[in-house]
């Protein structure tokens, strides 16, 4: 009897599934010089879920992604207003930028392995953050490559240049490199758009798996991809966030007519 009650008590609080917010932006305005690329964007990225950002070219998807790990800092004349938070901390004020970028990893559209060996590519991040021991690095390199499903393909050539890999392999290497610093959030900017369908499928599978460990935010032009791998989707148009919600809901019952037009392919 007592036991039953206890059990109930244990289950009860978790019944309403409210997902925790990992990152969030509030009233975000972003300017490139005079040009406003993001207009009053407010959006939450729930922890351990895959959020897809969709919208026509030039609507500000990459810009938003780069605001999340402050890669926009590298752009001359870029100005950010509003709040971007990671676990509730303002990333533009309360988190050291290099720490932020370790916690919020990024994979780019074009694979960009460094011109060094496969091993050194993966070890670059951990070394940056102070891990020097060979044994420790060996473990990290192997684990990261395994997690990115490329270990079997490269384990015999770790000392060879990463530039000798195929495009799809290079992109998985870049994913492994991002994983090697144990990020909490992964940003993927059209990371499959330069790849063949088989490589794309491999990476999509990875992303689905990642949701159990990481918070994933991905930009994609491919709506089927958004449907396949994401649980949340946000639709952007001309720098504004038009609509955000559960992926299935947004694709099947969009609330805004512009979203409806886009997901049914009536926008470019």
């Amino acid at each position: 009897m007592m036991q039953e009650i206890k059990q109930d008590a244990r289950i009860a609080p978790s019944l309403p599934v409210i997902s925790e917010t990992k990152m969030g932006v509030e009233e975000l305005d972003l300017f490139y010089g005079e040009f406003q690329a993001l207009k009053d964007v407010t959006l939450d990225f729930p922890k351990n879920e895959v959020t897809a950002l969709i919208g026509p070219s030039g609507c500000g998807k990459s810009t938003l992604l780069k605001a999340l790990n402050r890669m926009n800092d590298l752009v001359d004349g870029c100005r950010v207003d509003g709040l971007v938070s990671l676990d509730g901390d303002d990333i533009y004020r309360d988190v050291p930028v290099n720490d932020l970028r370790r916690r919020v990893g990024m994979v780019f559209q074009q694979p960009n392995p460094f011109p060094m060996s496969i091993y050194d590519n993966i070890a670059f991040g951990p070394r940056t953050h102070g891990i020097k021991g060979k044994a420790e690095l060996d473990v990290i390199v192997e684990q990261s490559l395994r997690d990115a499903a490329i270990w079997d393909e490269v384990k015999d050539r770790l000392k060879k240049s990463a530039l000798g890999l195929s495009g799809g392999q290079q992109q998985r290497l870049c994913i492994a490199r991002a994983l090697a610093v144990q990020p909490e959030v992964l940003l993927l900017d059209e990371s499959t758009s330069a790849l063949d369908p088989i490589s794309t499928a491999k990476i999509e599978d990875l992303v689905v798996e990642f949701a159990s460990k990481y918070t994933v935010i991905m930009v994609t032009h491919n709506m089927l991809q958004a449907l396949r791998v994401s649980t949340k989707t946000a639709f952007f148009l001309l720098g504004e966030m038009v609509e955000a919600g559960d992926t299935d809901e947004l694709f099947t019952h969009p609330k805004d007519s512009r979203t409806a037009d886009y997901v049914s392919g009536r926008f470019g």
């Binding site: 790990n69 890669m71 590298l74 001359d76 290099n98 720490d99 932020l100 970028r101 370790r102 990893g105 990024m106 780019f108 074009q110 960009n112 392995p113 460094f114 011109p115 060094m116 670059f124 991040g125 940056t128 953050h129 870049c174 490199r177 991002a178 610093v181």
Partner: protein, 277 residues
């Protein structure tokens, strides 16, 4: 039709260049090699043996010293201009324009400047030090410009990759950007080296023509202020005196070999450096 003509022109150009080059090298070798006598390599120069050994050592010292001064400065300046300064800033534009202008100035002007500044004003006299400083200023724009070009040619994505992993600016530049730029930088250093080894005019004014190895053993660091003559100056002196044309050709052969060795060495060093990075 035009394509055919163009292709023919390309071939003609290539063949002409090769022929001219082979002609010069061949001419020097034919005239020089028969006169490469052991006496040319004696440690001390006398007017009988016309030894080129002191000049050979001086050349190496002079070029190394000039490069030691110019390469870190030039590479550092280029890194600053490309990676740190805002590309639109006025300062960058002024520095770039100045460097470009300096690159086009005849070396004799650098010689005059060296004579007035290092030799006279600083009182270093005609010396290894005055000469090397003058050469360093002369090749600085070369090193700077080539390094800049090499850095600009490195894909932006390497830098982004470094930053995105939380690496700071210094680490990103030294680990992700510089290794790729290294071949270009080495190219610039070789160009600079070539100019140092081949320079005569600027050195006549600043380093003088004394055919001896600076006496580091006896004077220590002060030997830097001894006058010395490089191989190119040595050749100039021999040829202008007109008494030792054969030895001048032999010297040219040695100079040629020296340049080849230095180039190979620099390339080899670059490869090692790149692997170590």
């Amino acid at each position: 039709m035009t394509l055919k003509i163009l292709r023919a022109l390309v071939y003609v150009g290539a063949i002409l260049t090769a022929l001219v080059l082979a002609g010069i090298v061949g001419y020097i070798l034919i005239n020089g090699i028969p006169h490469l006598k052991p006496s040319l390599f004696e440690w001390t120069y006398t007017s009988e043996n016309v030894s080129l050994m002191p000049a050979l050592v001086d050349t190496i010292l002079m070029a190394l010293l000039a490069l030691v001064l110019a390469v870190p400065t030039g590479v550092g300046a280029a890194i600053y201009l490309v990676e740190y300064a805002r590309s639109t800033s006025r300062f960058v534009r002024v520095v770039r324009m100045t460097a470009e202008t300096l690159q086009g100035i005849p070396s004799i002007i650098y010689g005059l400047f060296g004579l007035l500044f290092f030799t006279t004003m600083l009182g270093w006299g005609l010396s290894l030090m005055s000469g090397a400083c003058t050469l360093a200023i002369m090749v600085l724009p070369v090193v700077m410009r080539t390094t800049e070009e090499a850095l600009l040619a490195v894909p932006e994505s390497y830098k982004q990759g470094g930053f995105a992993l939380g690496a700071g600016r210094v680490r990103t530049i030294f680990r992700c950007v510089l290794p790729s730029a290294l071949p270009g930088i080495v190219g610039g250093v070789l160009l600079a080296l070539g100019r140092c080894v081949g320079e005569v005019a600027a050195l006549l004014f600043t380093a003088g023509t004394v055919a001896q190895i600076p006496d580091f053993g006896g004077q220590g660091i002060f030997a830097l202020f001894d006058s010395c003559r490089t191989l190119a100056v040595h050749m100039y002196v021999l040829a202008s005196e007109g008494l030792h044309m054969d030895e001048a050709y032999a010297t040219a052969v040695v100079l040629l070999i020296l340049v080849v060795i230095l180039n190979t060495g620099a390339n080899f060093a670059a490869k090692r450096l790149k692997r170590g990075m």
